[in-house]
Chain length 224, copies 2
DNA sequence: CATTAAAAAAATGTATACAAAAAAAGAAAA
DNA sequence: TTTTCTTTTTTTGTATACATTTTTTTAATG
């Protein structure tokens, strides 16, 4: 969220925002000079930004052809969640063994905040807290690389989040799932933490899959 | 391995090779213009190559400072193998359920070739076959993203492979470990495939850790 | 001799020019 | 009308110039 003052960073933020908000459509080719002109900068920083976004899987480079906004398929969702389910379940298991009281307190606090946001039906706040909570669990698990990778996987499908978390009942159910995970971690029950994380992610995956089938595929023939 | 004819690709291959062969030392800052001059090209393609290598975790960009060859610590090895152990064990489990006979035949064949290479003490051939074998398992597991990520993790520590696989007894022992994994997969025994993969990677991690402690740390104070 | 200040050198960040390649548009032939 | 070929336009790939920032060197001061 922090906006560094280099033009590369500006270009990066601009393009990423447009992709996430579907201003650039999945499968669309984007052209450096056009973005450069609309930001009133040169091509150079835009191309650097392209490489950064390629790194995150939001853009795909096709040599001698150009830069394409990555288009998620159902297979992608399946792959992404297969990895997420495994890694996050393992990290939850590890987090259950974490003895850092500050982190444990924070975890409890974040869950409470989530409850409040859910009661207030504040979807935006809830989304942020949801991310905070998962991040906290990963920090407790003490594997920075895994955290980075999962955040990267999330970047790849978060485009769909717009239509997802606002769905009826999703947040209410999600609170219950998160409570189970957090309680297991705080109780130091690694097996339970692993199991509840898996269950939670399977539900997310399945809802996301049906969302992709019902809402998005009709107008995006190559996926999202 | 394929060398595309763009200068970016040349620069990319050149830098990567130097990093892997320790021609550029871990922690060293590398400067675009110097590489550009030694390749007799301009800075532009070199900078594109930098971004590609950043993507692979071989270079780290420090804003307003420059590009640093990433330096592995023991914590990195621990993180990398924690992820590898989890993901690869899961993929081996999935591979055990693969029914594609062509892939299964290939797997058996690759193991045989590895045995031959080991008998002939052909380390170079063995390294290639080892990578082929693991890749085959991942292909059987049918998760392209996980495959890519594991290959990326491997890129990060393969620099150490030079001194690693040549160690006395490592290959002989490794053959046995690989046989167990392959046999479990071919027998369709998912539990066993998962277990043997974990055991194998734990051994690799531990040997790598001791290598890092004994050989490399003395002269590379920030790790490798 | 150590510390700070100023000047010089080097490296990054950006813009722009131009050649080569690809895509698009238009013209000619079937 | 469709197909093929040519021309034009667009876009990529690369080089280079230059401003800004950072680092190093040198000079001055205590």
């Amino acid at each position: 969220m922090e906006s560094k003052n280099t033009l590369q960073e500006q270009a990066y933020q601009f393009i990423k925002t447009k992709i996430v908000n579907l201003g650039f459509k999945p499968g669309e080719f984007i052209i450096d000079i056009q973005i450069a002109e609309s930001l009133d900068i040169s091509r150079t920083p835009v191309r650097e930004a392209f490489r950064m976004l390629e790194r995150e899987g939001l853009l795909v480079y096709e040599p001698k052809h150009g830069w394409k906004v990555y288009s998620l398929t159902l297979k992608d969702i399946h792959e992404i969640f297969e990895i997420k389910i495994n890694l996050e379940a393992f990290l939850a298991r590890k987090a259950a063994k974490c003895t850092d009281d500050i982190l444990r307190k924070k975890l409890e606090h974040t869950l409470n905040e989530m409850r409040k946001a859910a009661d207030a039906e504040d979807v935006d706040a809830w989304v942020v807290l949801d991310q905070d909570l998962h991040k906290l669990i990963f920090i407790m698990a003490d594997n920075q690389r895994a955290l980075n990778y999962i955040e990267n996987l999330n970047d790849q499908w978060n485009r769909l989040r717009v239509g997802f978390s606002a769905r009826t009942g999703r947040i209410t159910r999600s609170i219950i799932e998160h409570e189970k995970i957090v309680n297991a971690i705080l109780a130091g029950d690694a097996d339970e933490a692993e199991k509840e994380t898996k269950d939670h992610l399977v539900l997310v995956r399945d809802e996301l899959t049906s969302l992709l089938i019902n809402m998005v595929l009709p107008y995006a023939k190559d996926g999202v």
